[in-house]
Subunit: 255 residues, 2 copies
Amino acid sequence: MTAASNQDVSASLVIIGDEILSGRTKDANLSYLALWLNEAGIQLHEVRVVPDVEAEIVGAVNALRAKYDYVFTTGGIGPTHDDITVDSIAAAFGVPVIVHPEAYAQMEAYFGAENFTPARQRMARVPEGAELIPNPVSIAPGIRIENVFIMAGVPKIMQAMLEGIRGVLRTGRKVWTQALTIHAPESKIAGGLGAIQEAHAETSIGSYPFSREGRYGAQIVVRSPEEGAVTAAITEIAQFCAREGFETSGLSALE
Amino acid sequence: MTAASNQDVSASLVIIGDEILSGRTKDANLSYLALWLNEAGIQLHEVRVVPDVEAEIVGAVNALRAKYDYVFTTGGIGPTHDDITVDSIAAAFGVPVIVHPEAYAQMEAYFGAENFTPARQRMARVPEGAELIPNPVSIAPGIRIENVFIMAGVPKIMQAMLEGIRGVLRTGRKVWTQALTIHAPESKIAGGLGAIQEAHAETSIGSYPFSREGRYGAQIVVRSPEEGAVTAAITEIAQFCAREGFETSGLSALE
């Protein structure tokens, strides 16, 4: 990572794909990207899922690249007719689509001239002014233009592309997290938890309710860029539960 | 459903929750809602995941309620300090938060006056002018204000709330879907598939690549409000594969 700092560095994700919006396919990239980014000291602030429609992709990318340090997109960079991400992002930047000579040469060398079909050649197209993101899995590269990183939708390829840009991302503070499960309804812990949140304003305390086998509980997650603040708050929550007689489990390591 | 029509009815979803953006929790509502809505003749067009921050919730809800027929939100309606959805959506509509007399009475009757704690009373608060969405699972209701439906984040409760609003949603055309897996790299099928898409403009043909055990393939999904158009396109795709010698599998039923 370059230029690690103590500041917040923000990111957003645009998931491009009718298949997610139809409900047929469950996205597998959001969670991976969020955890990877946080390890790198970058926080994911917003995600949008948009259909394979140019105007929708343009709108989302332009809104998010103005608002956050980085925008990642997943999906729509393959060789088929429904892969319109490159054209859409070129439109978002108001630049033409060109054939990137290096991408073209890499792919031609890999596939061989006789197998470098028009469909494959399509994957050498980039918005003018863009740089390549290496793809060690299947050659056809990802693309970076300014603060937008155009990634594959296939998780294995997206993950490999992330490793390739590790060195170019500006990084800031990691947010530390620790979690604890309380086996009591949220309504019984709400008062105590709210008071602890007020006393630990440098942390963010989330309460995520669940019901298992008819019993209600909540997973409590404490987050802060300051390690010590997380531990202090979670300790106080555990003490509150012990005092009130609420069973707890699953205290996670600080990570 | 009321007033079924032959028109498109559009919906969007705002997933409210730091826990999704941190990557710790995987959303389980998007896919369920998308499939449920399509069965009801309503298409999910956009999803946004936003943090537990009022300004972000306000921005997303106001953008989406102006653009789509319906907006659904999930998360943030429990009794704890981080449950800020009701206040945020009241702010989005520019109305105060009030205690809903019916919600208050229902919950007081269910919990008993002595157990109807301030935390539970918080769940009787709604934006002024809102209606209740029944919650047969855990009583504390969902909320409807104009075209915005405020739902629980816990999947079991969200799903029960959906059943409660089945009768009030305007419904339009269902989109029919049929899928086929082709065991060949996308680059080899792209030309033929593009030609079939052009010849079947009343359908939308998606190609979703995968790799399993080192072999590349793609799931092809054909969608259209016209059943016959889906079958015609998928048949032509199967014939194309047979002609070219591409192995296929997993032809799904039209649904």
